[in-house]
Amino acid sequence: MDGAVSKSFWAPPSFAERGASVPFTTPIIVGARVRGRGEDLELVVPNPSGAKGNYILQWKSLPDVFTLTVHDRVLHRAIGEAGASTPDQVRRATLKTASTGLAGPAAAKQAKAMLKDEDDFKLLIQFSLLAETVAQLSQGSLQITLAHVQSETGRQQAKLILARVAHKVKLEGNELYALLEQWSDLIAAVGVPKLPKPPRLRRMRTRIEEFANSIGSWSEIDKSDASPLGGLASLVARETASLASEHFTAIDAFMGRIDATVLGWEKVQAELENNVRRISWMLDGWDMLVAMWEDAVLKPAFEQQATVQELARILPIVPEEEVTGVRRDKLRDIGLQRRKLVKPMEDWVSGTIDADLRTRLERYKAKAA
């Protein structure tokens, strides 16, 4: 191990410092995060003893330090080769690796479905933006249908329709079409309100809210040592979802005033990028936690209690730079409370790969959205 840093795991100062979550299947490095350090990558591993601080490793030294599953060896190479250090970059490497089947057939199926989903969502979002733009700029006199984005002929027709209203935002039809394409690409993971099925980050926020409710009510019933940790997890989830909601609202607002959005595109583009990036960082790592809990919900009490201990240890606390005032104090307080309550995860710390724990991690991976 290269050394340990204090505090950042319990109260991370920034997203970059916290790192992007890597869904490894080797139990001892569960909850590990990758972050960029100049030209290199580093791995931040929560202290397996549950004590203060993280272990920091050079990315390339990971296989020398821990016995990894084959899936993790392949994922480690994929992330290293791509120099991936943001949630989106890590996600691409993760899906590619999982689709080999090395984390089991269910994770492979899920990875393939997620890759396909992304294309479908881009199309749906593009259609929503086109339809809304035409409706707003023509004041309801013109219409775009889904067929207009599903084929080249349809797209040509859409451009012609757009051309009839584009002058209102001082653009040609083609230019407006290209701008809307850029817009939909930018918000592909976030989407727009009222889609029949929300894209992954919007869906994730809802799942986090449900997680907060479910684990919150569990902690009121459960009488074990894990109960206060359940309450804490609920609190963190609620705060995270609420913070993310502010960014969703900001993104959605642009669709409500399309003329202003298009006219100020340069600035809007930067704002959209910023909001999407922050949502992506904010919700990063939660898919695994939510999947852990969803998996535990139907299990016996002793398994639920163990799950709560595990997930509390890797709970992604929102970095301090994202919040101010009372909220910052509240999150800092949550971080401290967690430090006091989390028990050392002895089960996860053996040098060998525990079949049961590994299977559980693979199952969570298959349930992640």
Binding site: T67, L68, T69, V70, R73, V74, S99, T100, G101, L102, G104, P105, A106, A107, A108, K109, Q110, A111, K112, A113, E210, N213, S214, S217, K223, S224, E294, V297, L298, P300, A301, F302, I353, A355, D356, T359
Partner: protein, 476 residues
């Protein structure tokens, strides 16, 4: 898996994702619907689907006279079909409706309607049904005792009742229902005052509650003392815990007749344990898993959990008057051993050999294409073996497991050896790359689950470089 099985699996998954607050409201409303029209099949089916979550969430259910009648023996209920042998300490859910019909005939519809009316007056947040139970349970017990006594004396009367119940085994369940209801008040008082099922740990106060129940039953109807054992074991997370509970009860000076119940207690522990595994064994034996793909893994885990319970129980019993009881735990351990041998270890090698022979068809499933159930079942077997390896020594099946794992490993090695031989001798065309990689990844995955990551990665690296090499040769 059939389409119906898959749909049911999908539906169960979706239902499990319904937020708790919504679930509580949904159950309340569905039960209202069912109460109004008992044949409402949508309500009945959906409530059936919710059952696993209801055990966890435990929303307030709509009370009915029939549900009140079954309340004292609720924990003891199983889904055992009416034609299966009677299980000691358990009552088949199938006996509820016919038993209730017999009771209604005896006590009269007017009385039942009056009780229903009383129930309706009680609010949703009501927590104890003792007062109304005190009115209903003795009436039910008297009615059933009359039927049972008459049936024991009069064969033709029994022959008339048995078909109504669903079979001779249900006659035995009817007797158990009657036994529980005769001390229904004491049992329900105990249930009300203990933590919800499954009980993981009991406080001193809880032990006091159990002691009081034992004493009360001894005083009023000592012959029904075994019912306390049945009711308690059914509520415990670990059936073996019952032994240390009775020791703690005795230490409080409230042992009552528990000392006389040694053989019943052992029998109930063993059958309760068997019962907990019955569903898994049924699924394994029939091959029908209803979309569940972790049948063997769950069994292996559950065995591990119960072994922990046995060890904990033995530890607690050390040096106490329960030393003899500790020896009885070994009988439970033997049952666990048989279960792991038969369902996890036996025939694993043969099964894997069959799968490997068909890997051309199955490999795409391993990488998530199409219906992946068959591949998940293979993994289930391999994972269960790994889990069993943790406690194989304790059960005395280390060698058996090692030998079987060796056989499995031999089959996988044979398969990858052939894959590499074919690649070397026949080369590889670009259009066959995906299939070759899928085969390699599936074999590597299986190898990892059996022999560990080091060996599996070596095979992966060797295979991938061979694929690249042969593709390059083909290009050249």
């Amino acid at each position: 898996m059939t389409d119906v099985g898959k749909s049911l699996g999908d539906l169960s998954q979706r239902l499990s994702q319904i937020p708790e607050a919504t679930l509580v409201e949904l159950v309340w409303s569905l039960e209202g619907k069912r109460a109004g029209n008992h044949t409402d099949s949508t309500a009945v089916t959906l409530l059936g689907q919710f059952r696993p979550r209801l055990q966890l969430v435990r929303p307030v259910r709509r009370m009915t006279a029939k549900r009140l009648f079954a309340l004292p023996f609720e924990d003891m209920l199983t889904n055992t079909p009416p034609n299966k042998p009677k299980i000691i300490g358990k009552i088949s859910r199938h006996v509820i409706n016919p038993a209730w019909d017999l009771i209604v005939d005896k006590i009269g519809r007017t009385e039942v309607e009056q009780i229903e009316e009383e129930i309706r007056k009680v609010g949703r947040a009501h927590t104890s049904w003792l007062a109304l139970g005190e009115r209903l349970w003795p009436q039910c017990a008297t009615a059933l005792r009359e039927i049972v006594t008459r049936g024991e004396k009069n064969v033709s009367y029994r022959a008339e009742v048995v078909p109504k119940l669903g079979g001779p085994e249900m006659w035995l369940d009817l007797q158990d229902v009657c036994d529980v209801l005769e001390i229904g008040l004491e049992i329900q008082q105990m249930r009300d005052n203990l933590p919800p099922k499954p009980i993981v740990a009991l406080t001193d106060e809880d032990i006091g509650v159990i002691g009081q129940t034992v004493m009360a039953v001894d005083e009023r109807m000592k012959v029904r003392a075994p019912v306390v054992v049945y009711a308690l074991v059914a509520r415990l997370d670990q059936p073996t815990e019952i032994l240390s509970i009775f020791v703690r009860v005795a230490e409080k000076g409230m042992a009552g007749s528990t000392g006389e119940l040694a053989s019943i207690t052992t029998e109930v522990m063993v059958t309760d344990m068997e019962q907990r595994f019955e569903e898994v064994r049924r699924q394994i034996a029939s091959g029908a898993n209803d979309g569940k793909i972790t049948v063997r893994e769950d069994l292996a885990k559950e065995v591990g959990h119960h072994l922990e319970g046995i060890n904990k129980g033995k530890e607690q019993l050390k040096g106490t008057s329960g030393a003899a009881a500790a020896r009885r735990l070994d009988r439970v351990r033997m049952k666990l051993k048989e279960m792991v041998s038969a369902n996890v270890i036996e025939n694993a090698g043969k099964e894997i050999a069959t799968v490997l022979a068909d890997l051309k068809r199955l490999a795409p499933m391993a990488t998530g294409e199409g219906d992946i159930t068959e591949m998940q079942q293979v993994e289930d077997r391999l994972l269960a073996m790994q889990l069993a390896a943790k406690y194989a020594g304790e059960l005395g099946i280390s060698q058996e497991l090692k030998d079987e794992l060796k056989r499995v490993e031999g089959h996988i090695d044979g398969h990858t050896g052939k894959l590499f031989f074919d690649l070397r001798s026949k080369g590889l065309k670009a259009e066959n790359r995906e299939a070759a990689e899928a085969d390699l990844y599936s074999s590597v995955r299986m190898l990892e689950l059996v022999s560990g990551a080091e060996r599996a990665e070596k095979t992966l690296v060797e295979g991938l470089s061979l694929i690249d090499e042969k593709l390059a040769e083909n290009k050249g």
